[in-house]
């Protein structure tokens, strides 16, 4: 079950520092060299996969995070 407050804060509705600033947490991201958390993901046909499943397909995988906007 999604937390409605988290949903609205993460999917902020306007680009103002008070709303986007709290999400810029790169300094808190997982360290290199240690196995990192796995998460479910979905392809564009809404078929579920996972980060670990995708990473297992290649010696190395580049993951670019982003959005249309």
């Amino acid at each position: 079950m999604h937390d409605p407050d988290l949903l609205s804060r993460y999917n902020y509705d306007e680009f103002v520092p008070a709303k986007f600033g709290p999400w810029q947490r790169f300094h808190e991201s997982p360290p290199l060299g240690e196995r990192s958390p796995d998460f479910p993901l979905w392809d564009l046909a809404a078929k579920e996969t996972s980060l670990s499943e995708e990473l297992s397909n290649h010696a190395f995988t580049i993951v670019e995070f982003g959005s249309f906007t």
Binding site: P17, P40, D43, F60
Partner: protein
């Protein structure tokens, strides 16, 4: 980034785009409220920007994105077992290409019988800053995106 994915595809290098929250929501592409909308925005991005890499979508509340630092356009490189070997708070094709060349080299060194072990290195890379192209992208989202970014950081127009 598409070109890098193609260039290294035959060297056992994968490349994916992981769709997150909307960084600059506006009139034409507002903030996300459902997975259906998120998938629709991701398909539009693929079609308009020509993203040829597989696109995978995070859950609506962004647990994967948030866990990895939730920057709007960061890049990571992972090995097959899920261990991150490179992370960058911004995506720059020169930096990625440079890093992946190095990691392809480690595959070759291991295959040649060299015993190698990891170590940590820090480096400051340099990305292209094209404000006009960036503002063109904001205009695609809608006037609200341009106005809000200009209010937050100023701009060339």
């Amino acid at each position: 980034m598409n070109a890098i994915a193609e260039q290294f595809a035959d060297k056992d290098i994968g490349s994916i785009f992981l769709y997150t929250n909307e960084a600059h929501p506006a009139e034409y592409y507002p903030h996300l409220t459902s997975m259906e909308q998120k998938l629709r925005h991701a398909r539009d991005m693929r079609d308009v920007l020509g993203v040829a890499r597989p696109i995978l979508v995070d859950a609506l509340d962004g647990p994967c994105h948030r866990s990895y630092g939730s920057m709007p356009n960061m890049s990571w490189i992972f090995d097959r077992s899920g261990v991150p070997v490179y992370k960058s708070d911004w995506t720059d094709s020169y930096s990625i290409a440079n890093a992946i060349e190095y990691f392809v080299g480690t595959i070759k060194r291991r295959r040649a019988g060299e015993r190698i072990v990891p170590f940590h290195v820090e480096r400051l890379d340099y990305r292209t800053k094209d404000e006009f192209a960036f503002y063109d992208g904001l205009e695609r989202n809608g006037p609200k995106a341009v106005r809000e970014f200009r209010e937050a950081f100023g701009g060339p127009k």
